[in-house]
Amino acid sequence: MTEDLLKVGTYTFKSRLIVGSGKYRDFATTRAATEAAEAEMITVAVRRVNITDPGQENLLDYIDPEKYVILPNTAGCFNAEDAVRTLRLAREAGGWDLVKLEVLGDTETLYPNVVETIKAAEQLVAEGFQVMVYTNDDPIVARRLEEIGCVAVMPLGNPIGSGRGLANPFNIRVIKQRASVPIVVDAGIGTASDAARAMELGADAVLVNTAIAEAKDECMMARAMRDAVRAGRQAYLAGRMPKRAFASASSPTEGYIWD
């Protein structure tokens, strides 16, 4: 599989498993799980420095920006303006131009507000960002985001942090079949088979955070996700057998001793 590379905008990756850095019990576990996942890209959030204790440890003391592609996100933004402000700051902080845009619609589902997302995407693309964009599983919206110039479209499988897998595999497949930019299944993956399934549908990559960070053994789950993404990718490329309503014998049906 050495030649099967993932190209996102001007970046190229061997790994098709993107990880998040949220929800870990500590930074050491974040680093250990990220290494176990053999990920090359990791999302981070932009937040105010705690002025009362500016010296406290920081995520980037553990996740080396020289070693990983840092993907700043706009988690928590509910309108285009906040999202754009957030990513301008992220770009200044680390010079990162590859960003994950998410403009949320409500706090209960954390589903995107696609109208605001489109508005923000247009602005960010105009400002030269390479935008990977979180969206719902609507193929029409996905195509619009690609037309705007986003470098990757990231449809959700299910609500962020729900771990319920892929609600609508058909839509993911349709989005992929029409896309000329990478499709990354983001949100909803709860266990390894969910990641494998997403890749079998044709997804170019998956983004996993909660499923690793909330596993009892984070590093083992990270390895499970690493292997699942590889498994699903290979199964997709290998071309699966057809499904059959009925059975098909695996052994020859002649030459029996009792014939």
Partner: protein, 69 residues
């Protein structure tokens, strides 16, 4: 003795001695951190921290990266 200024820093009123963003960053001990500053809704490049003077009532956002999905 330095003149103190009242600014809004990360949403909180604060009196600082710093006259420039560079001095503010130093005052907070964040020189070696990957941070970014928004001054009155405009991002200020690090290259201009030294020349960017603080004035009474400035609204400053000082951010960094944390764990997020």
């Amino acid at each position: 003795m330095p003149q103190m200024r009242s600014i809004q820093l990360n949403g909180e009123a604060r009196r600082v001695a710093a006259g420039t963003l560079a001095e503010l960053v130093a005052e907070l001990g964040l020189e070696r951190r990957m941070i970014a500053i928004e001054l009155n809704l405009e991002v200020v490049p690090k290259s201009r921290y030294a020349e960017t003077r603080l004035t009474e009532g400035d609204r400053i956002e000082l951010v960094h990266m944390i764990g997020g999905g």
